[in-house]
Amino acid sequence: MENLKRKFDLQQILAPAALVILYIFFCLFGKNFFSTGTLVSILDSTYYVGFMAFGITFIIITGGIDLSIGTNMMMSALIGGYLYTKGVNIWLVLGIVVLLATIVGWINGIFVAKLKLPPFIATLGTMMMTQGFGAIMTKVQTQRFPSGFDVDGLYKQIFYKTGDGFPSGIIYMLVFFVVAWVLLTKTRFGRYAYAIGSNEESVRLSGVNVSFWKIAVYTVCGFFCGLAAIVYAATYTTIIPGTGNGLEMNAIAAVIIGGTSMSGGIGTMSGTLIGAFLMSVLKTGLMSMGLQGHFQTFFTGLVVILAVLLDIYRTKKANAVRKD
């Protein structure tokens, strides 16, 4: 038993260790990788993936999946941008963005928990619906959020970067990392997420309102997509209709790299955070080595496979020990 615990700890430091090693690797072999500027750009590209990843961590721990997170984020941002150009106050717009995304999450929850659709199918449906809906609402026009020089640009300074270049987005993200971590580890919500992922029937037989908590989990994921939409808008300002599709895979990859099991019951928020950083380091690092887009995609895929192989190996080990 002691042995098992030690192995488990080893697994837990594996992702952080990989992150550090990868960073050092790119510092040595990348062009101008070791610099504050690079570090900031690593952070920049972590934000929106990170938020989505926090949200979907809850869902994956319950044994579910949400494919709609990327398009949900884009749709909310699009409609937000549309409302802004129609003259709605920027702060109200941001509130509506989060609300919209949360509602989509809630709808996913209803589909999965009440109407008993398989999560993959339900969220595949809402993925397409949100992508389409965003485009319809905006009449397929590209939407613009106020830029940093604008009067309303203050939000950019809060959620993305201050005027003098301080990456304030990291504070925004870390605050909500703590929120997500507390939710997962210190509340009934988190406890039930793990429990449902472990053995849903058992939780139901224990008199827990499983469908309520499942809806809650999907709703919270939607909420985090809303937060992601804000930071996306703050970072990129321009939102193009019909995009967002595929971004969910980056978030899911981050979660898996962070050691969350796709079969549910296992996972940590810190793992997800590290997974998100790892992907950004990979992306920025490969760029510094002169390898563009498709290389990033290729290597991200490779890392995901490695992470899952590791997960399988770990489960096998754990099972082998349990038999004694």
Binding site: T187, R191, S198
Partner: protein, 507 residues
């Protein structure tokens, strides 16, 4: 079963705590419960027995609010009650420990026990429930760490967690559905200690089991069900095994041990195992002769299934050799074993033995499909003819060969698996717990089938936890303990006591 537990005293005079009267339940044409009846007296251990499909589980599901009865009433503590869901029953003090453990492996023991009862505060901590859980464990002298993840506990300990969970609801009536199915002997003794302790605290228990010796050890009264109907209730002390089994099946069944073996020492050795070793198996060597049934006896965890899985190539072998008909085999995966003519019938039919969504005929030819194809297409006629032959030959009870296997009874599913391996030309068959979860009638069919196979010259390894079964079927008995063969007995020299002695011998 000699656990030093004395049977009931005086409890049968206690007041009635629960009565289920005229319970009727139908499922889409199946009449599962026919005006069935059950009466419990406070503080008794009441065994509920019957063949598979007798309606025991349905009855319990009605009691715990999982199903609603079509007719009939439940009177609990003198009042008519109606449980709409499991939570209702739980609140009223009726708890059930299901046969399939319903635990959350990734949560700790304490978290499992108090799931759903974390309080109304949104935030949770484990401090309080850990203390509560530790107190409960101490009360029953269980050595379990409340903060240990349940997935890391042995099955026996997991069961204890389930029972403690049920008790922690302040259960007045505790239903235990086949609680000993996966337990070792010492764990069963522990369980019975806990049950007696609970009884002393006034908890009434319903004990569902197929194991008559355990029922006779632990229960005060026995209610027998058959085909969804109430048969009778007997006082354990005043009855005997024959009477119980007779009431269950409506006929007397005697299990007579085999007195001697017809297999001469000169019979050719078909399978030769030398020094087989893996993580769970240590230096296992034995010979299997043509036409022989070699019983593998031992307690749970003795390494019998593990040995079988090594021979079948399901787990990697660390060292050791396997010879078939004198030729050394290289078994790296099940496909190698099957090619060499070794078939394995898993104890867990649904998970490993059958494709439950396929038909009888599909399952029969599954392992040998290449011989049933012509130019890449499946030869339906050949499949049908072969399958029908076997349905007749080994008496598979099925409306047609296109019936889905999931609709067959356990015994008939077992037969289909046997047919599958024979079709594949296997002459060494490893039966792992062939009669587990099969009712008494189907058991004797399986015994007949195995005898028939042996007479036809097939060689059989039979792993069984039921000593009576071992004694009835085997020509020789290999006793295993902690991964080693401690003794191979000729059937003439074997008895329950002798086998038990070797099965518990620590080398």
């Amino acid at each position: 079963m000699n656990s030093g537990i004395t049977a009931a005293n005086g409890t049968i005079e206690n007041p009635v705590i629960l009565e289920m009267k005229g319970i009727d339940k139908r499922f889409q044409g199946v009449h599962a419960l026919k005006k069935s009846h059950l009466e419990l007296r406070k503080g008794e251990i009441h065994a509920l027995v019957g063949e598979n499909g007798a309606g025991k589980s349905t009855m319990m599901k009605v009691l715990t609010g999982i199903y609603q009865a079509d007719e009939g009433e439940i009177i609990y503590n003198g009042e008519k009650v109606h449980f709409k869901n499991p939570k209702d029953a739980q609140t009223a003090g009726i708890a059930i420990v299901h046969q399939e453990l319903n635990l959350m492996n990734h949560l700790t023991a304490a978290q499992n026990i108090f799931i759903g009862r974390e309080g109304n505060s949104f935030f949770v901590t484990d401090d309080e429930i850990n203390v509560k859980t530790r107190r409960l464990f101490e009360r029953f002298k269980m050595k379990i760490d409340p903060t240990e993840k349940v997935g890391n506990l042995t099955v026996g300990k997991q069961q204890m967690v389930e029972i403690v969970k049920a008790i922690s609801f302040d259960a007045k009536i505790l239903i235990l559905d086949e609680p000993t199915a996966a337990l070792t002997k010492s764990e069963i003794v522990e369980l019975f200690d806990v049950m007696n302790d609970l009884k002393a605290h006034g908890v009434t228990m319903i004990y569902i089991s197929h194991r008559m010796d355990e029922i006779q050890t632990i229960s005060d009264r026995i209610t027998i069900m058959r085909d969804g109907e109430y048969v009778k209730t007997l006082v354990t002390k005043e009855t005997n095994l024959d009477e119980i089994i007779k009431a269950m099946v409506g006929r007397v069944i005697y299990i007579e041990p085999k007195t001697g073996s017809n297999i001469p020492d000169s019979a050719p050795v078909v399978l030769e195992v030398r020094g087989l070793t893996s993580r769970d198996v240590h230096d296992v060597s034995f010979d299997l002769r043509k036409g022989e049934i070699l019983g593998f006896a031992g307690l749970m965890g003795a390494g019998r299934t593990e040995t079988a899985r090594l021979i079948f190539g399901a787990d990697p072998i660390d060292s050791g050799e396997i010879y078939k008909d004198g030729k050394k085999l290289k078994i790296k995966a099940p496909v190698d074993a099957v090619r060499a003519g070794i078939g394995y019938l898993s104890e867990d039919r649904k998970r490993f033995g059958l494709a439950v969504d396929l038909s009888v005929s599909d399952n029969t030819v599954l392992a040998d499909l290449e011989n049933f194809t012509r130019k890449g297409f499946i030869d339906d006629r050949k499949v049908r003819e072969t399958c029908e032959t076997y349905v007749q030959k080994i008496n598979i009870k099925t409306p047609s060969i296109s019936q889905l296997i999931r609709n067959l009874s356990g015994g008939n599913q077992q037969k289909v698996i046997v047919a599958k391996w024979i079709v594949r030309n296997c002459d060494v068959l490893i039966f792992d717990e062939p009669t587990r979860g099969i009712d008494v009638g189907a058991k004797s069919e399986i015994y007949k089938l195995m005898t028939l196979l042996a007479e036809e010259g097939k060689s059989i390894i039979m792993i069984s936890s039921e000593l009576q079964e071992i004694l009835r079927m085997s020509d020789r008995v290999a006793c295993m303990c902690e991964g080693r063969i401690t003794k191979i007995l000729n059937i003439e020299d074997a008895s329950q006591e002798i086998i038990m002695k070797y099965a518990t011998r620590r080398n």
